[in-house]
């Protein structure tokens, strides 16, 4: 009889938990509403945190190099921020209202633990906003001498505040993923120490990953803005300015994107260390197919970025000598893309098992393993770096006496890096898995060493180099600009996809293994449904961004009457 009472009590408790725990949102449901608000907020937040990073760097280059075009570029980046900040705050407010009304029990749990950090967050957001206003509206007032350095300091502060704000918000979501081991379902939220909850296992990896990701994203969106303005330009000067801006945006996006996988590896490792089952769910469980979709997206990114560079070489005198190589680089990229997108350890249906004749495909099994995939992605990075290098060298003729030797050394560094990558890729098939995992470190180190070594040599090599002719900024075919749009759309979609991966590995938990999701939407959706939501979020975000771009142009016309465009920037060489 006691057992019966216990059962009834448990049932009553479960009913009570669910009854007061969730609100209803018409049409798309509570989860859909929070999903959209959170994702669009995050996209705007990534933009407003990423852009100040390179705005302040551009301003510094302008100050140190006494080059006004960088200063104007930095100001143009910042103008986009002013509008985007409002959108970030609006979507953040919407998210907060949705959480408090649709997930009150969960939100109470979070607020009980993180209340003090939430107050700090709100305060810093105020300070950050006012710093931005001072930074932007004080641009023309504090433009020379010490005042200019003070102005640059404001830009630096803007980054500091933004980074702290992001770190605080990251602590909330990473606590949901990886709460401290001492916190269990029986632990009262009030008993959880604030710092203990903040400094959880995945907090710092997410911080670093997002910091880099924001720069990538900001660069891509600014590149798309420049492309939009390039296509709408009325004068050659305007077209030249936005061509150059698009190049800078693309350079920032791709150069920071190349280091993003390393931060991703770290995050993945921390997830495995925290909970093997969570890691396996992410990489080999129901989410295993997600990585194939990711590979498709990243392949598009590499192809679009390289295409933009190769097309851009058409406006650089002397670049013709590199043209024959592009088709081979394209071939390498496509082959590597196919290898990377090959499925391997995935949950297959019985029909698929039958079709494959076992748990792995008889042929693709060989390509789908990490040895092949790591080799493919490292070769793609090397190829993209080579594209950057020949773009940079296109119109320069080195004058130093050791130029030929340096070029031979650079070529050898590429060959050695590719050799190391291929060697460990093949050798990986002949060793145990635990040994094979370690090989990826050697491959990454070889690629990084090549990138760093070749870049250092190149800086000294082209110092004082003769010019083969001025870059004809603005002389880009319109089709090249669509590559920048594809990059921006793809980065945005990729952000939505990886957000789903990070959030989805919690499965039916609000806080992993601590607070269960007992709502009707507790099951984590399949990728098709997730893709619908991601696409909707991307469309909302890009629609609003297009509106902001249009506002940016409107403000410019109202403020200046004349185009903000520079005269054709005097560019002695590509890649500055």
């Amino acid at each position: 009889m006691t057992d019966v009472v216990g059962l009834l009590q448990a049932a009553a408790q479960a009913a009570a938990d669910t009854a007061g725990g969730y609100g209803h949102f018409p049409g798309i449901g509570a989860r859909g509403a929070v999903w959209i608000a959170a994702e669009v907020h995050l996209m705007f937040a990534a933009f407003v945190l990423g852009v100040p990073m390179f705005a302040v760097i551009c301003e510094l280059i302008g100050i140190v190099g006494k080059d006004e075009k960088y200063d104007k570029l930095s100001k143009e980046f910042t103008r986009l921020l002013v509008f985007a900040y409002s959108a970030t705050a609006l979507w953040g407010g919407l998210l907060l209202f949705f959480l408090t009304t649709l997930y009150p029990r969960f939100w109470t749990h979070m607020a009980t633990i993180f209340s003090r950090s939430m107050w700090v967050y709100a305060g810093l957001f105020f300070i950050e906003s006012f710093t931005l206003y001072l930074y932007y509206y004080g641009w023309d007032r504090w433009k020379v001498g010490r005042a200019k350095w003070g102005h640059w300091g404001l830009g630096l502060l803007l980054n500091v505040w933004g980074t702290i704000v992001m770190f605080i918000a990251n602590s909330w979501l990473t606590y949901m993923m990886s709460p401290p081991s001492g916190v269990t379902a029986e632990t009262l939220p009030a008993e959880v120490g604030l710092w203990n909850a903040i400094a959880n296992a995945t907090w710092m990896p997410i911080n670093i990953h997002r910091l880099i990701g924001n720069a990538v994203f900001g660069g891509a969106i600014c590149g798309a803005y420049a492309a939009f303005r390039f296509l709408a330009a009325k004068t050659p000067e305007e077209r030249a300015h936005y061509d150059w801006m698009g190049y800078v945006g693309n350079f920032i996006a791709i150069s920071t994107f190349i280091v993003l996988p390393f931060a991703g590896y770290w995050l993945g490792r921390e997830i495995y260390e925290y909970n093997q089952q969570m890691g396996i769910t992410m990489m080999g469980g129901f989410m295993s197919w997600l990585w194939i979709v990711q590979a498709v997206l990243i392949g598009v990114l590499f192809l679009a970025a390289n295409y933009y560079l190769w097309t851009g070489m058409g406006r650089i005198p002397g670049a013709e000598r590199f043209a024959p190589y592009t088709k081979w680089m394209l071939l390498v990229l496509v082959i590597c893309w196919i290898v990377w997108a090959t499925p391997h350890t995935i949950i297959a249906t019985r029909e698929e098992l039958a079709a494959m004749g076992g748990s792995h495909h008889p042929f693709l099994n060989v390509l789908g393993v990490m040895s092949a995939k790591n080799t493919a992605v490292n070769l793609m990075i090397l190829t993209t770096f080579l594209s950057f290098l020949i773009y940079r060298r296109a119109n320069r003729r080195p004058t130093v006496a050791w130029a030929r030797t340096a070029t031979i050394i650079q070529t050898a560094m590429f060959a050695i890096a590719a050799g190391v990558v291929l060697f460990y890729g093949v050798y990986g098939y002949f060793v145990e898995a635990i040994v094979r995992i370690g090989f990826s470190v050697y491959q990454v180190l070889a690629v990084l060493a090549c990138i760093i070594g070749v870049s250092i040599i190149d800086v000294f090599l082209v110092r004082g180099a003769e010019s083969r002719g001025e870059i004809r900024w603005g002389m880009m075919p319109a089709r090249s600009q669509y590559a920048l749009f594809i990059l921006a759309v793809t980065f945005t979609w990729l952000m939505g996809l990886m957000g789903f991966a990070r959030s989805g590995i919690r499965q039916h938990w609000h806080v992993y293994e601590v607070m269960r999701d007992t709502s009707a939407d507790a099951a984590t959706p399949a990728l098709g449904e997730a893709a619908n939501m991601i696409s909707l979020c991307v469309l909302i975000f890009l629609g609003l961004v297009a509106f902001i771009f249009w506002l940016g142009g409107l403000a410019e016309r109202a403020g200046h009457k004349a185009p903000v465009a520079l005269a054709v920037p005097p560019q002695p060489a590509a890649g500055d």
Binding site: I346, R350, A523
Partner: protein
């Protein structure tokens, strides 16, 4: 300018549409929530094992590691000649019976790690309720062994709660002896083709009566690992060994006669 705007919009929509399509054409796997069992004291071992199988194959997330046999031992196939998990669990640790061993494996997995594997399994008490753990143990025992889990293990009453719906008494065996309905209900058609349709994980039901006499069909159902059909060696050990407990004698006979009649 409008033409340019439309072109930009078209590019964005095509790219977004392409990614959405890619995400739709790959297999659609949803992460399920472990079902609340609400088991009562009079639940049968078969029903308990059936509930456990759903947890094992679904929301319990067990197959992510145990299904491949590379990250963790495959529990439904033979390992080193010791048989499936129900057959080998009683001899894994000296002095520990099958039930105790499996319970320890799920709640304190680090206590004993099968040689050749890493200590990666989490304490399943953080994810599953007590009765879900015991149901899973019952399922694992049923794979080649005897189900010894009872209601007393998970502390339920031996009587149903007042007012509880009959369905809450746990998954029950159906009484039908209609062979096609049984083949569908027991998931046989998930691996065996019938009427030319279905995946060829196991031999087709079409023409089975021409290939095997009735007594061999019965033996193949009750002892699926005793013989392996030619051409299906790579799927050896896939078929559950629990049909003897899941089917009544009349149901088993109905299926045997039905298959023997398919020439």
């Amino acid at each position: 300018m409008w033409r340019t705007n439309l072109k930009v919009l078209a590019v964005a929509l095509i790219v977004i549409g392409f990614y959405t399509m890619v995400a739709h054409v790959i297999p659609q796997l949803q992460s399920e929530v472990p079902e609340a069992l609400a088991l009562t004291g009079d639940v049968t071992p078969e029903a308990l094992a059936a509930a456990g199988e759903r947890i094992y194959s679904g929301a319990g997330g067990c197959v992510a590691c145990h299904g491949l046999g590379t990250r963790a031992p495959n529990l439904v196939t033979d390992q080193g000649g010791e048989g499936t998990i129900g057959a080998r669990c009683g001899s894994r640790r000296p002095g520990m019976d099958c039930k105790s061993y499996l319970y320890e494996s799920m709640t304190n997995p680090g206590a004993f790690v099968v040689p050749g594997f890493e200590n990666i399994m989490p304490d399943m008490r953080r994810q599953l309720a007590d009765d879900q753990i015991w149901a899973t143990i019952a399922y694992l025992q049923s794979l080649g062994g005897e189900v010894t889990v009872t209601a007393s293990d998970y502390g339920t009453s031996t009587e149903a709660p007042t007012g509880a719906a009959p369905a809450a008494a746990g998954p029950a065996l159906t009484a039908t002896t209609e062979p096609l309905a049984l083949l569908r209900e027991k998931g046989c058609v998930g691996c065996h083709a019938i009427d030319g349709a279905g995946p060829p994980i196991g031999p087709s039901f079409d023409g089975m009566g021409r290939r095997l006499p009735a007594d061999q069909i019965r033996r193949a159902i009750l002892l699926p690992n005793a013989d392996t059909a030619k051409g299906y060696e790579q799927f050896a050990g896939t078929m559950p060994q629990t049909f003897g407990q899941m089917l009544s004698a009349a149901q088993l006979e109905a299926i045997v006669q039905f298959l023997a009649g398919r020439r």
